[in-house]
Symmetry: C2
Subunit: 211 residues, 2 copies
DNA sequence: TATAACGTGTGACGTTCGTCACATCTAAAA
DNA sequence: TTTTAGATGTGACGAACGTCACACGTTATA
């Protein structure tokens, strides 16, 4: 696997980044790939007027920028750390070399395949629900599935994001997120604690998600 | 290249389809890939309530369903022909065999890479503009770029889609598309003829696209 | 030619939600 | 502790647009 690069003889650059560091921005020539070792990072796109949409949250083990590097073009998204992060970096030329090995090519195929599936899911979650409440409900359900994958609705979601960040994930505004979370709380569908969210009525949340 | 499969010894199934035929639907187990030889087809996703979003228009040479086949899961989109179409079909088992060859793996890598880039672009076009007019303007500009890639704005766009189809491409409603096209016509930005659209004022259209 | 079936044009209306404005609350820095 | 920056809560307002309803045009199919 490409992520196990430390075991190989590829020269990689290990770095530590503070919270909020931009690893690379949309439009910069793709100089190489980053492998996230610890911490989380957001993968987002930005419009010329500054609107931001977060496409996915990267976690430890994720490879960032691979497709842009393979295509030899500019990065097609911006990656910003949400926590202090440790990363490995592999320069473009070495990635291209890896492409010639059977194992390397297959590893990259698996990575791109995974990225494609994930982007497909995100696209579906963002484009199909017509309302902001639908997108928010879907996001919460996705989170609860990733978290403890128990069917029991007892597990709280410990994703600690600001309303602003959530808004960017569901293509909405900060105020709308505040209002929707408050409304769902009032209706006993969820319970918002400091630092986590608990789903109290999964049926109701699923009903909102399809609206 | 995978698309040149006719030259190889892979057993492929060549078929003719009428306009409107569904090659495969979201959720069906991925039995194999389709290679579009002639005609166009829409790649779309559907919500449980019937809302349809067209993610891309496939054209001759495009390979459909590859990622789902590689992952061994269900198709993640629905493909419907817009014209009478001729297709080749390659069963999953043969695709998996191809994966073991260096050339096959690299060809698939290139295909997935292209798909990922395209989906990224579509995502950007659909999620970043906050208004329907912005998304429509962006769609028209994309079309004019694909068409005659001349910078001269004289080339008409000969895509013949119904307002309903355009609405599904820009996540809007049929009525809104009708109204927006009429409005842009009135403002001398475009000229709508039967079967094609001419961009008369590219500057203005670009201004609408970023709004 | 008749008659659907489908695409298009347009008015009226209400909901959703983005935006502005400001208050309050929390937590980090000084 | 005080200060300050960021996060959250909430009201008011209006633009955008989805939906319903129906008229009109234009191809196909009988």
């Amino acid at each position: 696997m490409l992520q196990d690069i430390r075991a190989s003889n590829i020269s990689n650059l290990n770095s530590l980044h503070r919270r909020g560091k931009v690893l690379f921005s949309e439009g910069e020539p793709a100089r190489g790939i980053y492998i996230l070792r610890t911490g989380r990072a957001s993968v987002s796109i930005t419009s010329s007027e500054g609107k931001v949409v977060i496409l996915r949250m990267a976690e430890a083990g994720d490879v960032l920028g691979l497709n842009s590097v393979l295509r030899g073009c500019s990065y097609d998204a911006t990656v910003k750390t949400l926590d202090p992060c440790r990363t490995d970096f592999i320069a473009r030329s070495e990635v291209i070399d890896l492409l010639e090995t059977q194992a390397g090519a297959k590893a990259m195929l698996a990575l791109l395949s995974g990225e494609l599936s994930e982007l497909n899911n995100r696209t579906r979650s963002l484009l199909l629900p017509q309302t902001a409440s639908g997108r928010l409900a879907k996001l919460l359900l996705d989170w609860s599935q990733q978290n403890g994958s128990n069917t029991s609705s007892g597990e709280p979601i410990d994703k600690a994001f600001t309303h602003e960040e959530i808004a960017q994930m569901i293509c909405s505004s900060r105020e709308t997120v505040t209002r929707l979370l408050a409304s769902m709380s009032r209706r006993q569908i969820i319970q918002v604690n400091s630092g986590n969210i608990l789903i109290r009525d999964r049926e109701a949340l699923e009903a909102v998600a399809v609206s």
